[in-house]
């Protein structure tokens, strides 16, 4: 399809507005805001459970598709037109169409891991470690990506995961912060101390002192020190006007984890990597209904996130990917089982959007992986490598993905 960013602006929307902001306005904003420098950010949204890529971005012209999924395949008339031959979009992802038309959204189809495992946990591990087939890797790929480039002013909110625990992808990034919600970070006042903010601040200061007094080799103390530094910065920044959101997000876990990331990006806390998680893709049974709901959540949440970022969307790239795809055939229970290749979504500034990247290998029996799954034609690491290069200047592939002999996916970014 032909892409026009102006088309998007005419449509009343969002993304490229930053580049049209007068210079004086941008300077004014900057003067008021800057503690940490305005940085590029990479957001990774992990669709855990194995998203059925064929259900989301459907190869309508492949004659085998209907045969493989007689009940599951939607009628072509019900799918959304992507203005390109061969593929249509699931109707629940309608929220993404404006981004697609503005060329801020790309899909990478038949993407996945060279490792044959169909175990969620192995495949999730491999993806997060960035070393398919090797479980012993001690740090996550995002931690390595962060470590590759020295930055001028490292801060406590350079890497944030909106999740109760640090995801494997960030393990080894000493400064990464994980929290499920901002409320999780507030403390009760000490006994007998004043109630309210004053008491809470006092409690924080006291514990900050306690953790600060302890030696570096104690892992718990180190975690604690980071937590307090992060809290300081959060409170400073999240109250700023620019961080407030006027955008309405859908209710649900995807939006709930993307919204704080948008707040942090707009608050200029120096966020370089954001992680979010969205489960519920393991659709062994009656998947049509489940995916109607989940894909709508996904599409609407991503659209709200990009809209919320406003001019800052130019500085952000979000990659949404899953551990593997699902069987090309529907199973006996109206669902699909663990498979091989799936689809990834890449959106944000600098993305060559409005396109489906990667080669689609076809669905004939001899084209399917092990005669049952969509074959992998693009290693997900090429996608991640391209995103890490674009957003984090992390270009040393041997460091980023040890043992990977491929290249960053060409043409994914301008």
């Amino acid at each position: 399809m032909r892409c026009s960013r102006r088309g998007l602006l005419k449509g009343g929307a969002l993304v490229a507005a930053g580049s049209f902001m007068p210079a004086f306005a941008r300077r004014a904003l900057a003067a008021q805001e800057v503690v940490a420098p305005r940085r590029k950010t990479l957001v990774f949204l992990f669709l855990r459970g194995a998203l059925d890529g064929l259900h989301a971005v459907t190869p309508v012209d492949d004659p085998r598709f209907q045969q493989l999924r007689p009940q599951l395949a939607l009628r072509p008339a019900d799918l959304l037109d992507l203005c390109l031959p061969g593929f249509n979009l699931h109707p629940s992802l309608a929220g993404l169409l404006p981004l697609w038309k503005a060329c801020s959204l790309a899909f990478v189809h038949a993407v996945g891991s060279p490792d044959p495992t169909r175990s969620h946990f192995d495949a999730q591990d491999y993806l997060e470690l960035g070393t398919p087939g090797v479980k012993g890797t001690s740090d996550g790929w995002l931690a390595r990506a962060l470590g590759e480039t020295e930055i001028d002013e490292p801060g406590p909110l350079d890497a944030v995961a909106v999740s109760p625990r640090l995801p494997r992808a960030l393990q080894g990034a000493d400064d990464a912060l994980a929290f499920a919600s901002l409320d999780q970070l507030r403390l009760h006042p000490l006994a007998g101390a004043p109630r309210g903010q004053k008491g809470r601040d006092q409690a924080r200061a006291v514990f900050e002192g306690l953790y600060g007094a302890l030696p570096d080799d104690e892992a718990v103390a180190t975690s604690g020190r980071q937590a307090f530094a992060a809290l300081d910065l959060l409170e400073k920044k999240l109250s700023s006007a620019a961080a407030k959101s006027t955008v309405e997000y859908p209710n649900g876990p995807i939006a709930n984890s993307l919204k704080p990331l948008a707040q942090l990006i707009k608050g200029d806390v120096g966020l370089r990597v954001g992680c979010a998680d969205a489960g519920g893709w393991d659709t062994h049974v009656a998947q049509a209904g489940t995916l109607n709901g989940n894909l709508k959540q996904l599409g609407d949440s991503l659209a709200a996130f990009m809209l919320d970022l406003g001019p800052r969307a130019e500085d952000v790239v979000l990659v949404a990917a899953t551990e593997f795809g699902r069987t090309a055939r529907q199973n006996g229970t109206g669902g699909t089982d663990h498979g091989h290749a799936s689809v990834a979504l890449v959106l944000g500034g600098g993305v060559q959007g409005g396109r489906i990247h990667g080669a689609f290998p076809g669905l004939r029996d001899d084209q399917l992986y092990e005669g049952r799954d969509l074959a992998v034609t693009t290693d997900l690491r090429s996608v991640l490598a391209a995103a890490a290069a674009a957003q984090l200047d992390a270009t040393d592939l041997a460091e980023l993905f040890p043992g990977f002999s491929g290249e960053p996916l060409a043409g994914l970014f301008t």
Binding site: R165, R186, G209, L210, V220, G334
Partner: protein, 547 residues
């Protein structure tokens, strides 16, 4: 509850009543722990003191020491204490049993719980229908505000499910805090994560009480094969990993159905052999074929294990090189379970996980080998494997001391136990566990919650830990009362010493101690304030996050 279900409930209770099982290995000798500690000592890491040993064993074999436990161990001896805990059927647990009597889901049969959900769902559907008819009627004012609000019926089935899970969570906290059968409850938690089932899937909330009380608890210190078989037959697992719908494909049948590999894969990867245990994708398929027909009567009405021959694949299968001839029925899967139970990879995998829980995140290979050997020699006797751990030098080495970061459940239970908290509303404790990062019965993946320190050390979770300690010490957790009178007596030094001893914080670093002491000196010298601050600061200190 109707007469029939009441009767079943009684039967269930009777079925899981305790029968003393014969020991297959001799009890720990009276001096076994001390001897192991002596072997573990090196010039660089001197032998553990008796107090350290007592603290350590209470930290590992229970949810944390209560003040009285230390006295008990000093009098009875460590070995005798462990043997006592290894035989929970030999003593009563009256106090907690009384408290649990009011937890409805524990005395309800799974069919009653499931049927209540079914009825709620039907009601909701009917209401929805009625509202649709009402809003379609011409007399209804079009687009009235009231009308559009009514269109959103109350999510009652969801509320019922939430209530079930909350009741279960309360029971879990009551047991962790107050049960005398501490090691048994530690093991129930351990096995729950090993054989995880997520409460949010389907009607699992209604199946979990039965799963925990009939499949897991009676076998928690039994044999691994019996435990595995109980889990394999449990409606909760059959539903969670979809086996109940897995059937031999019949292309022309009216109802769509087919093979589902989900349970077969996790059975091999997570329940028995481990991911590197030496199986192939073909083995997964063959195991799935063996398990076809292992299903539940009717998940929404009659959730009990049944074998349905019409779903079973009667063809020949080859599992891990073993031929399972054509024509077999329900016993195909039983054969698979036997193959797995006696497989050396299972011994190794179970041994590794036990050693990780009780000793350290990366347990030493010789220890794992010895525990695996015990598995093999005793056909998977869990008590015997635990004995191997409890008499190992690895367990009693200085390196193992406070090597584990407490999971959120362990932290919350240990704090309540140390302070002898009176828990009127265990839900408040359960919610705290969730805030710190471990929503109970809420682990979605079949791996359950992790058992390694790194997983629990995120900054946000750490702040939640500190906050829990403050709320508990301040008496701000509703329904959880602590009495700090005995701690608040004397000078700040005395208060701190007493608080630290109560909380088992005898390994405080000088810096932590000095810092907290300074804080207490700056605090008004009122006994209750001194005590609450000392406890609040200690509970949030790094040392107290470990066991």
């Amino acid at each position: 509850m109707g007469m029939r279900t009441k009767f079943i409930a009684v039967l269930l209770v009777a079925a899981c009543s305790r029968v003393a099982r014969k020991d297959v290995t001799p009890p720990l000798t009276p001096q076994a722990p001390e001897a192991a500690a002596a072997i573990a000592a090196t010039p660089d890491s001197p032998v553990l003191t008796r107090d350290e040993m007592i603290e350590h064993v209470l930290d590992r074999a229970t949810f944390g020491p209560r003040p009285a436990d230390r006295e008990h161990l000093r009098a009875a001896g460590i070995s005798a204490f462990l043997e006592e805990q290894l035989h929970p059927e030999q003593f009563e647990d009256e106090a907690v049993t009384r408290k649990l009597a009011s937890v409805e889901v524990l005395s309800s049969a799974p069919d009653a719980l499931v049927q209540r959900l079914y009825i709620e769902r039907k009601k909701k559907q009917q209401e929805k229908k009625q509202e649709e008819m009402l809003s379609a009627a011409p007399v209804a004012p079009a687009g009235s505000a009231a009308g559009s609000k009514m269109a959103e019926p109350k999510a009652r089935p969801k509320a019922v499910k939430r209530d079930y899970v909350q009741q279960l969570s309360q029971a879990k906290l009551l047991r962790a805090v107050s049960s005398e059968r501490q090691l048994q409850e530690v093991m129930v938690d351990f096995w729950f994560n090993h054989f995880n089932v997520f409460s949010g899937k389907s009607d699992e909330a209604a199946l979990l009480p039965d799963y925990e009380s009939t499949a897991l608890r009676p076998n928690a210190l039994g044999t691994f094969p019996q435990l595995l078989e109980a889990v394999a037959h449990s409606p909760a697992m059959l539903v969670y990993l979809d086996n109940w719908r897995s059937a031999v494909p019949k292309p022309k049948a009216k109802q769509k159905r087919g093979l589902n590999e989900n349970y077969a894969r996790e059975l091999l990867e997570l329940h028995t052999l481990g991911v590197d245990g030496g199986y192939t994708q073909q083995d997964v398929i063959e195991v799935a074929r063996c398990f076809t027909g292992w299903t539940v009567g009717e998940p929404q009405k009659d959730p009990r294990f049944v074998f349905k021959p019409e779903m079973h694949d009667f063809g020949q299968k080859i599992v891990l090189g073993h031929l399972i001839p054509a024509g077999g029925g329900v016993e195909d899967a039983t054969t698979v379970l036997h193959i797995l139970e006696t497989h050396p990879s299972t011994a190794r995998f179970v041994a590794t996980k036990l050693a990780r829980r009780f000793v350290s995140d990366e347990p030493a290979d010789p220890l794992v080998r010895r525990v695996a050997d015990t598995y093999t020699a005793t056909n998977g006797d869990i008590r015997s494997m635990l004995r191997t751990i409890f008499e190992s030098a690895e367990f009693w080495s200085r390196k193992a001391l406070r090597a584990k970061v407490r999971s959120p459940l362990e932290l919350v239970a240990a704090s309540a136990r140390a302070l002898n908290a009176s828990v009127e509303d265990p839900l408040q404790l359960a919610k705290a566990v969730g805030r710190i990062g471990e929503p109970l019965y809420g682990a979605q993946p079949p791996t359950g919650y992790p058992d390694v320190s790194q997983a629990w050390l995120s900054s946000g979770a750490l702040l939640a830990r500190i906050d829990f300690g403050l709320a508990l010490a301040n008496g701000q957790l509703e329904g959880v009362t602590i009495d700090l009178k005995s701690i608040g007596v004397g000078s700040p030094e005395q208060v701190l010493t007493k608080a630290a001893a109560t909380l088992g914080a005898n390994s405080l670093s000088d810096r932590t101690r000095g810092y907290i002491l300074d804080q207490l000196k700056q605090t008004p010298q009122k006994p209750d304030l001194q005590a609450a601050r000392a406890v609040g600061l200690l509970l949030g200190a790094p040392e107290l996050q470990r066991r």
